[in-house]
Amino acid sequence: MKIAFTSKGKDWDAPIDPRFGRTEYFFIYDEASGGSRIVDNTDVTYEAHGAGPKTAQRLFGEKAEILITGNGPGGNAASVLEKAGMRIYTGAGEMSVKEAYEAYKKGDLKQF
C-alpha cells in the first residue's frame, strides 16, 4: 500500500498536519518498497480560495491509496478523493507521522 500522511515536516518524527487542504507537506510511504518521499504543498498556502480541491488533485497525482490526516478533508476535496478511490483515515491530528502509522496499523484511526 502507498500511504500519504499530511505532515508539517519531512521525516517520520514530523507532526501530522491536522488540515488537509492547507497541509504543508505530504509524507508518502510505500509499504511494498519501504521507501518514502516528500511532496511539498506549501505553495497552496498562497491560494485565497479552493485550497482543498487543489491539494486533492496534487495528491491524486501521487497515486497514494490511503490518506492519513487529522480532521479530514472538506466537502470539495472529499469528492475528488472519493472519485480517486482513496481510503481516508482521520484522528491523527496530535500524533507524529510515525505514531500515526502505528495507530493505523493497530486499527486505532477512524475511517472517514
Binding site: 480560495h49 479552493g50 487543489k54 488533485q57 466537502g75 470539495n76 475528488v80 480517486a84
Partner: protein, 293 residues
C-alpha cells in the same frame, strides 16, 4: 426610499432596530423589510407575518459536457478560484467555489462547459397588513453571500413600488456583503453601542461608508452602558446621532423571546419616532408618504 441598517460588528442591535422600525412604520404606512444578512438571517424570528411563499435562488455555474470535451485543460487554467479540476479523464466543477465569472464557459473552444442554474439559497416573502417582509438564507456550505444579496435587492426592486420605505437589514462587518447591501441605499443607519468595541467597529463602518460616499447617521443602542467616547467621536466627525435606545435588562429579555419592543417599552417607541422624524425630514421622503395613501 431605501434605508440600510448596518453595523461594524454583529450583536449591536441591527436586527432589533430593523424589525421594530419596520413594524412601527407599517402601523401607519406601506413598508418593506428585507433581511440581507443571508448567512444568519434573524429578522424573521421577530416578524409575525403570513408566509406568502418562497422561491429557490440560483447562481450560474458551468456544467461539464463529457461528449464535447477534449480535455485541453483551458478551463482549469483560466479559473482563478480553483473551482475546476481534472481527475483522470473527467472534469469536476465545485459549485461553492465558483464565482460565476463565465471565463471557463466562454473560453472553452468546444463549448463543453455551458452555464447552468445551481441553487445557492432560498428567498421567502411574507405579508402582514402594510408590512411586506422578504428574507433570504444562504445554503450551508455556500461561501458567497453577495450574489444572493444582489438577487434579494433585485426582488424587492421588482415587486415593491419605488416610493415605499424599504428597510434593509444589512449583514455585519465592513466587507463585500455590506458593500452590496448598502450600495443603492439613500440612507445608512449605523447601529452601535457606547463601548470601546462599539467605537472601534463604528469607526471601521464609518470609513467604509465614507469610501462608498454613502449618506449615513448613527443610532446608539444600550445607551448608558459604557462611556461617552462614541458620542464625542460622532461630534468630532460631524456624524448625526439621530436616536438613542437605553440600556435596560427588560429590553434584552423581550428580545430573547423574539418580541417586538416598542409596544412594551416607551423609550424604544420614542427612539423610533425620532428616527422616523429624521427620515421624513429628508429630501425625497415626501414621496414615501404618498405611497402610503
Amino acid at each position: 426610499m431605501k434605508i440600510a441598517v448596518a453595523s461594524g460588528k454583529g450583536g449591536t442591535g441591527k436586527t432589533t432596530l430593523s424589525t421594530n422600525l419596520a413594524s412601527f412604520l407599517a402601523e401607519s404606512r406601506e413598508t418593506v423589510l428585507a433581511d440581507l444578512d443571508v448567512e444568519e438571517p434573524n429578522s424573521g424570528l421577530f416578524i409575525r407575518a403570513e408566509a406568502g411563499g418562497e422561491e429557490d435562488k440560483y447562481k450560474m455555474i458551468p456544467e461539464w459536457d463529457a461528449g464535447k470535451c477534449t480535455l485541453c485543460g483551458i478551463c482549469r487554467e483560466v479559473c482563478n478560484f480553483n473551482a475546476i479540476t481534472q481527475i483522470m479523464d473527467e472534469i469536476m466543477v465545485f459549485p461553492q467555489l465558483c464565482h460565476s465569472c463565465y471565463a471557463c464557459s466562454e473560453l472553452c473552444p468546444r463549448d463543453a462547459l455551458p452555464m447552468k442554474k445551481q441553487k445557492m439559497g432560498v428567498l421567502r416573502y411574507f405579508k402582514q397588513g402594510n408590512l411586506s417582509f422578504v428574507e433570504s438564507e444562504l445554503d450551508i456550505g455556500e461561501e458567497q453571500a453577495v450574489p444572493l444579496i444582489a438577487q434579494t435587492i433585485a426582488y424587492v426592486d421588482r415587486h415593491c413600488p419605488g416610493d415605499v420605505i424599504k428597510i434593509f437589514d444589512a449583514p455585519p462587518g465592513t466587507s463585500c456583503p455590506v458593500i452590496e447591501a448598502t450600495k443603492d441605499a439613500d440612507l445608512v443607519i449605523l447601529v452601535t453601542e457606547p463601548t470601546p468595541v462599539g467605537l472601534h467597529d463604528l469607526s471601521l463602518a464609518v470609513e467604509t461608508m465614507k469610501a462608498l460616499k454613502r449618506d449615513f447617521c448613527v443610532v446608539i443602542n444600550r445607551d448608558g452602558l459604557g462611556n461617552a467616547d462614541v458620542e464625542s467621536y460622532c461630534v468630532r466627525e460631524n456624524i448625526p446621532v439621530i436616536a438613542k435606545i437605553p440600556n435596560q435588562r427588560s429590553i434584552a429579555e423581550f428580545y430573547s423571546d423574539g418580541k417586538l419592543l416598542y409596544h412594551e417599552i416607551s423609550a424604544v417607541k420614542d427612539a423610533l419616532e425620532k428616527i422616523i422624524a429624521y427620515i421624513d425630514a429628508r429630501p425625497g421622503a415626501g414621496k414615501t408618504e404618498k405611497g402610503a395613501e
